[in-house]
């Protein structure tokens, strides 16, 4: 599912990520751990095709990302990857339902209200479908963000610090929901976190170290 070899990324001549080898099978659940500044977010962005690595081979869902360009890469991302971000970047002027519909529209998938209701229902926020994100609690917003990430049934779900703004109960629920939703369609799940409450949740873990020459302070 994911195959990384000799990966290295530099930003402004500073190495910000080094990952010699990493393999993930379809359907596995992984935690990417490490302190701030170790390159967790960069790794996720590389896996999503948002950043082109300075060096190395990256294969995700059968595609070599270095060979995909421009619109084909965007298209691949829309259909193959679902992303949940740390800050709750729902589109503010769209209702909950329209946030999910936006994902379907941008992926050029059929705009399917049944699928949206089903996804919102599975995450327990079906009753909020007509609301604006600002009318929802943090926990509800994160559920909607997860719903939006999985509404197109991606093969890979990426989550970047999904529990950062949540209390203990909500944090536990979100990780469980992520695993459950990824499991529903056999998607691979990769969660990047430095949240101690999450560390014990999955068996598979990738520990990243801060590359030499960078301070660990963030």
């Amino acid at each position: 599912m994911i195959a990384v070899r000799g990966l290295s990324h530099r930003y402004a001549q500073q190495e910000v990520l080094r990952l010699p080898e990493w393999k993930v099978a379809q359907g596995e659940r992984w935690l990417v751990l490490g302190p701030s500044g170790c390159g967790k977010t960069t790794l996720l962005h590389i896996l999503a095709g948002l950043v082109r690595p300075s060096e190395g081979q990256v294969e995700v869902a059968g595609e070599s990302l270095l060979k995909l360009e421009g619109a084909r890469l965007d298209r691949w991302r829309a259909t193959s990857v679902g992303i949940v971000l740390q800050a709750l970047h729902l589109v503010r002027h769209l209702s909950v339902r329209d946030n999910l519909r936006l994902a379907q529209y941008l992926a050029k998938a059929p705009q399917d209200d049944l699928r949206i209701d089903d996804t919102l229902g599975a995450l327990g926020v079906a009753a909020k479908s007509a609301r604006r994100p600002s009318e929802l609690s943090q926990g509800e917003q994160q559920r909607v963000a997860i719903a939006r990430a999985v509404v197109n049934r991606p093969k890979l779900v990426l989550a970047d610090e999904p529990t950062a703004n949540l209390d203990d109960a909500a944090a536990a629920t979100v990780v469980e929901l992520l695993a459950e939703q990824a499991g529903r369609h056999g998607a691979t799940l990769v969660v990047a976190t430095h949240d101690a409450r999450v560390k014990g949740k999955f068996r598979e873990r990738l520990e990243l170290a801060v590359p030499a020459g960078l301070s660990a302070s963030s």
């Binding site: 999503a48 965007d74 971000l85 705009q111």
Partner: protein, 393 residues
């Protein structure tokens, strides 16, 4: 969901910014449309009223006043000329047709024009009711006069000396209305026609020495050949009591004078449209900062950079379209209101129910301004660096 609904939902979420851009654009478009309608219709009407009249001959004075009073019946006449001089003109080889008119009186603000039947024929006026006059002190009413005063055949009307809103002393002699003309869309709709002899008859009361020669006010002349334009006006102007004015030349002069004001208004409208463009630019550009994440998130959902460019363009086009449509409607509404007011003042009527081809240009230019204003914000949206934007959040 599509690009249009996505753009619209964003604009709806920012009603004040949206309204400002739309209103500025609408005001600019409305001003230009109003000018187009008023100036265009005035030019058309003045052209129609002067058609077939190559020269206006009357007493010495301002040539523009002579034209305005002789053809358009808007200004006071410059004075009278002897009938013999007018008769001489009609015998001139260079003159195909000469129509003498006697002016000076009005009835309820409508000018009474002493003229032969050929004057009505010249404007293609046909009788809607009754008959044409065949003896002095009979009158035929233009369509608008009859409609506004609600006057029927058989009524008697009394002319007053002078014209305009404050007529002078009433004359003794009363005219009998014998006919009403059908609407022609020309100046004759607003006139009361009567034989020239009536005017003489009415004014005789004021004059003591009866032996004085009869007079007319203007003679409308049609040339026998275009060559006459070179010599006839000079020949007439060399006579001490006569003056010749060319409607074509005087109308052009009039519009070049009024044109300064029209140009100023047009420039003002252009400034409004540019301000609207600036407002679209500022609205989109300043919103980019707070929309950074939103745009980056759309990229993570698979939107291509081109899609984001299209999204901002769609917003600008929606704003501009709204502004243009509102502006067109407003311009026509204002023209209708102005038309109703002018109608009451018995001036040239203006209608808002007419479209001019130039309006398409105005719409296209206003849309273009909106699109150009969106170029830079849309380009910045296109260039959004997703990874760095998200990392900062």
């Amino acid at each position: 969901m599509n690009l249009a609904t996505l753009s619209a939902s964003y604009l709806r979420a920012r009603p004040l910014n949206t309204a400002l851009s739309v209103i500025l654009l609408a005001l600019g478009v409305a001003t230009i449309v109003l000018l187009l309608l008023v100036v265009g219709q005035a030019e058309e009407r003045m052209h129609r009223d002067a058609r077939g009249i190559d020269l206006v001959v009357g007493a010495k004075g301002s040539p523009m006043q002579l034209m305005l009073s002789g053809i358009y019946h808007l200004d006071a006449p410059t004075g009278n000329i002897p009938l013999s001089a007018a008769a001489l003109l009609s015998k001139n080889r260079m003159v195909k047709r000469a129509m003498p008119l006697a002016l000076g009186d009005s009835w309820k603000g409508h000018r009474i024009v002493g003229a032969g039947k050929e004057y009505a024929d010249h404007y293609g006026a046909e009788l809607r009711e009754g008959r044409f006059y065949d003896k002095p002190m009979e009158a035929v009413l233009g369509a608008e006069v009859a409609a506004r005063t609600n006057t029927r055949i058989g009524a008697t009307i009394k002319g007053a000396h002078g014209m305009g809103s404050e007529p002078g002393e009433e004359h003794e002699g009363a005219y009998t209305v014998v006919g009403v003309l059908a609407k022609t869309g020309s100046v004759i709709d607003r006139l009361v026609l009567t034989p020239i002899e009536s005017v003489w008859h009415v004014h005789e009361e004021h004059k003591e020495p009866k032996e004085e020669e009869p007079e007319v006010t203007v003679v409308l002349i049609q040339y026998a050949s275009p060559l006459a334009a070179a010599t006839l006006p000079r020949q007439i102007n060399s006579q001490s009591e006569l003056q010749a004015a060319s409607p074509a030349y005087e109308t052009a002069r009039l519009f070049s004078i009024v044109g300064v004001g029209v140009e100023a208004l047009r420039a003002f409208a252009a400034v409004l449209i540019l301000a609207a463009g600036l407002s679209v630019f500022i609205a989109l550009y300043s919103a980019l900062e707070e929309r950074r994440y939103e745009l980056a998130v759309m990229r993570t959902l698979g939107a291509s950079p081109g899609r984001l460019f299209g999204l901002l363009m769609g917003e600008a086009i929606a704003l501009s379209l709204l502004g243009v449509v509102l502006g067109l409607l407003l311009g026509h509404a204002l023209a209708s209101i102005l038309g109703a007011w002018l109608e009451r003042q018995q001036h040239y009527p203006v209608t808002g129910l007419e479209w001019r081809p130039e309006e398409l240009w105005v719409a296209a230019i206003a849309l273009g301004v909106g699109v150009v204003a969106a170029m830079v914000p849309a380009w910045r949206a296109y260039r959004t660096d997703v990874s760095r934007t998200l990392a900062r959040g």
